[in-house]
Amino acid sequence: MSLRSTLTALAALAIASAAGAQDNPRPEGLAPLGPPPIPADNPMTPEKIALGEKLFFDPILSGNYGMACAACHAPEAGWAVQAPISFGYPGTTHWRNSQTIINAAYYGKLFWAGASGSLEHQARSAARGGVAGNGEDDMMESRLAFVPEYREAFREVFGDDWPSVRNAYMAIAAYQRTLVQTDTPFDAYMKGDDDALSDEQKRGLELFAGKANCIACHNGPLLSDEAYYNTGVPPYDGWEDDPIAQITYRFEIYAKGVTEAKYRKLKDDPGLYFRTKQESDMGKFRTPSLRYTAYTFPYMHNGMIETLRDVVVFYNEGGGDNEFAANKSAQIQPLGLTDPEIDDLVAFLESLSGDEILIDYPDLPVMEPLPAQN
């Protein structure tokens, strides 16, 4: 960038900011979304991303050769599942809501209670989980070796003699880092385009950062502070009447590790408690990003709230109740929003989603016989 153009850009920005400061101040604590962080040990290359895309859609990375990542993170369903609880592995159901892949690249920790520290680790956990992919690394790695296209791609991208399943997770994570959305109306507005938001949305933003104080947790470019709270989301209602869901519930608390007394007694998802084993963390979940939420209904860690408006109403009423009430965040209090204010807030939330991100599914290679090399 030349000096002249830099100066021009700065001048334009100054004008925009000045105008904004005058008519439409941008709230402190929010920002447009930049490019995602790329870990130094997993640099992006076009070949790696292309490999990761295939692997994301390939059911080869599951126990039954039937459950790709995309099974529960489908592009046409907001890169998630548009049902309260994610599909489980055949014969099971999951117990939490499937989160969108879009912008997952920005989170420091993955899963609703932050159980994974990287996309690479998350991919492996999901591929192996008993009510998710139910795969096992040795088996999935063996299968990859029988796909000529993968042999070639893993050699080219990673230098593998035979495909390493750990590198499969690296490639998938690289692909996921391309699934971002940084051009929403909100981003344009935050960058200075006063016309990017409607008047209704601007009023909603003011409520978001003011009277409703959503910004207390939903802040930063991701609109998440990545901290953990219990806001009183009610328990998943399927546990009342779905025997498969009851099975998965008990499996999860058993497998994730609680005392027998807790295994006998708990009836809701303890969330962050699994990681910290602190009573005070029972029922806490990470603040989710509000981006791309136009496509990721229903909402909350267990999908118990159907629409964005319902979510706003939920918080307007001061959140809800669950069995971990002692840990409910004190910040969750009735907001006293009027119906028009609720409409404004919902309109603002809609500005956090851009166009739906849809892609053509990649052609998938298949396993072929592997004759002896002589």
Binding site: G91, E136, E240, P243, R264
Partner: protein, 358 residues
Amino acid sequence: MLTRTLLAGVLLMGSTAMAQEAVTPEPPIEVNAARAELGKRLFYDTRLSGDTSLSCASCHHPDKAFADGEALSQAYTGNAHFRNSPTLANVGFRAAWLHDGRLGTNLNDVAREMITETYLMNMDMRIMQERLKQDPVYVEMFKAAGMSEPSNGGARNALMDFMKTIQSRNAPYDTGTMSSAALRGQLIFEGKGNCVACHSGPRFTDDKPYNTGVPTNPAIWGEPERHSTFVTYAKFFGVPAYMTLREDLGAYVRTHRPETARSFLTPTLRELTYTAPYMHNGTFETLEDVVDFYDAGGGDDPLKDPRLQPLELVPSEKADLVAFLESLSGESFDIDAYVWRADDYGYEVIEDWRNVQN
């Protein structure tokens, strides 16, 4: 003996008086009858596999003496097995299990291996336990078997007890009703053929591994689902060069001693009429083929057991030997005592869920 008879009576209740009076190769193993009955229901329950597609009985059919009639067994969805499904007749008397003999402890461990192995039933047993707790029939059966509630360990013990009840019954060899051809065959078996060198004891096996030069089954390497399953297995057991390997190393996976390569446990000769095809990889279709194989001195392998030499049997001797082998097969296991007939597998909602203890 009184205890044993009573237990057998309970066990086989509802089948037949004939079964109670059956002549078996060895005295029955004492088991907890209620636990064995529970094991019988578990044996036929597909919910013991990850995607609920396979039960133990999927590869161990009662009408085939608990083998499956295939050269190479099926395996978990997306896989195919590289070995022949063995009979479970008299399985409780074995000293080691699986063709490579990698389990030498007990049938509880065998059940665990089959249920949890990724290419077999691929079951996270923690999910299995919670599935069992969701089925009121199991809740009652575990209680009846003296266990407070369904559990992984309890399920494995129950499967163990059920498997211990699977015993050969009324084989002509045991009832003294062998044909004259079979009697002549027995003399060859114990004499000129010296089959008895390894096929010894009431089950006609010494439970030890030998290399007899059985040819490889090319289907293992020709089908990617089967070959990749083999690779999964070989990799797990630390076999070198598993990607370029094109042979089943048998007991080597356990010993890692080169001289044990391609050796496999002596199989029982009980119930052979139900369990074709034969050998660890199902490579021989008939008993005549097997006899011809050993008559020729076994196969071609530098590590072949030196006792395998051409036998020079004439056709009538081979026929007699086959007749003897056939006399070691008893009555079908496709009877109520060994088959869970009720179509009663299901889950029920736990009512008032929030207020009952998990």
